[in-house]
Symmetry: none
Subunit: 285 residues, 2 copies
DNA sequence: AGATCAATGTTAGCATTCTACCATAATCAG
DNA sequence: CTGATTATGGTAGAATGCTAACATTGATCT
């Protein structure tokens, strides 16, 4: 009763996935999991879109479907439809879950992310991105609870362009600041949210005194930065959790990364392609 | 109250059908009725199949969809899907701003954050939080582009409870693993997203072999973790930016922090109050 | 009836999906 | 390490979906 001679099939997707569960290749495992988790929303997917979302190639999707006994996406959808429900909409999944305290926190983070659109739309955004792009050297710094996020940001940015350094206050990186090459343009990206670090403001003053462009990524409550540089961007932070979420900030950082990369897409893509090779050389940690 | 002035479309299919109900031609009436009665099963239909089933020509279907405000079947299906999915609460905020490439990235991040609700609602979530809360010692590790986020997470968690350590693979922290005190319960929180680190899986195996509870925070495409521990939580990661955003992941981490803190609110608040003092002692960097 | 115009269909072309064929990369045995 | 085997991807072409431009039908009005 499996699917030997008959092209069509009495068994639903999940059963078929279980049947081959033991003998999956890497790509197939990715596909199997993705299909399992997104079964309800398969209606409007196509081989190509699944390939894009899972990171495998289109033909691998096609092959896997065949292995499951479907002659293609159409056959799969047909099977899903025939077996009762066939509901296109992801259904109730969303709103009911957003109740309660956790739901509130989640919604606040999501809203804060959406609010980033207003920051990106500001004219200063383009200026800041251009300044980062144009700088010969970029310094990134962050404090306390966002120090790690700043380090990650520096790491990502350095994938896409060279001469990006994460600096800590007592770090050797500072030496380079104090003896700047006047022929070089440099840029400081400072990330600081509440509770603010005392070092932040003097650091920005110093950088400005040396003629550096300074981009500050901070939260709404920051009042000192705007006086020192026009390139200040805000995330809203009123979560009222035990500790402030840094999710929206991380999203903002990712937008900066993306915008800078988009200034020179060709270079970004080339560097990105070379990155995995680079990684293997490192300790991976 | 939702969609008065906007020309493009916040409303689902049925609303649109009602809007044009009064002025339908013969073919359009047929189509409208068929669409109404088969709305649930539209997923696998195509312009041609609808045409065949209703007896009108393909182009008439196409035209009617246009009249309804959809640019084609794809747009219709997309609309149907989104209706079921969580509505973005603050979408009104930046509706106009959410256009373009950056707008797409922002929306994807926001959606990914909202989708976290499904993870938090899983029964495993409560188990994982309880395990973290109950453990005598908590180890946190993360790799590559989320190493910093993992470090921040460890830092935040250690504000709220003691004996939290961020460990790197080649770190001295590992020594403590290899000579465990059998009287202590320990817990590993591992954060890993694409591109996955090779160390991750062996690390989890090792921890499990030692009887540790293991919580894995990863993305949808991770296939190895679920086989090793029940406490695997996913963020969706299909941004297609130059580099994946880690914003939703950071939000997830913050939710973990919050949930763990909520296990013992009194202690969390007490430690939080003592924290600024503690900070002043540190180098702040 | 004949003119006029809206509604619908036909044809053709472009875009997209899916798959056949071959090339490359990863894996494993010895 | 080498070579065999398997998994995966790339390219190109057939099939299908969608729509623009033109043709036809059918309804309405005088």
């Amino acid at each position: 009763m499996t699917d030997r001679s008959e092209p069509q099939s009495p068994s639903p997707l999940l059963l078929r996935l279980q049947a081959v569960e033991g003998s999956l290749t890497k790509s197939e495992a990715v596909l199997a999991q993705w299909l399992t988790r997104n079964e309800a929303a398969l209606g409007l997917e196509t081989g190509a879109t699944i390939a894009a979302k899972t990171g495998v190639s289109e033909i691998t999707v096609s092959r896997f479907l065949r292995r499951l006994g479907y002659r293609g996406m159409a056959a799969l959808k047909e099977d899903l439809l025939e077996r009762g429900a066939a509901q296109l909409p992801g259904a109730d999944l969303g709103l009911r879950l957003l109740d309660g305290e956790m739901g509130t926190l989640i919604r606040r983070d999501a809203e804060a992310v959406l609010a980033l659109a207003a920051q990106v739309a500001r004219p200063e955004w383009a200026e800041a991105v251009a300044a980062i792009h144009a700088a010969d050297g970029v310094f990134v710094t962050g404090f306390q609870t966002v120090k790690g996020a700043a380090a990650d940001f520096a790491r990502r940015l350095s994938i896409l362009r060279d001469r990006v350094r994460f600096v800590a206050a007592h770090d050797s990186g500072l030496a380079e600041w104090l003896a700047p090459d006047p022929a070089e343009t440099r840029c400081l990206i400072l990330i600081d949210i509440i509770p603010y670090a005392r070092e932040a403001e003097p650091l920005v003053r110093l950088a400005r005194a040396q003629g550096m462009a300074v981009v500050v990524l901070t939260d709404e409550l920051n009042t000192w930065a705007a006086a020192l540089t026009p390139h200040v961007f805000f995330v809203s932070s009123k979560a009222h959790a035990y500790v402030e979420s840094s999710g929206p900030l991380a999203s903002l950082l990712s937008l900066v990364t993306h915008s800078v990369a988009a200034q020179d897409p060709a270079r970004a893509k080339a560097r990105l392609a070379a990155w995995p090779a680079l990684l293997r050389e490192l300790a991976l940690f």
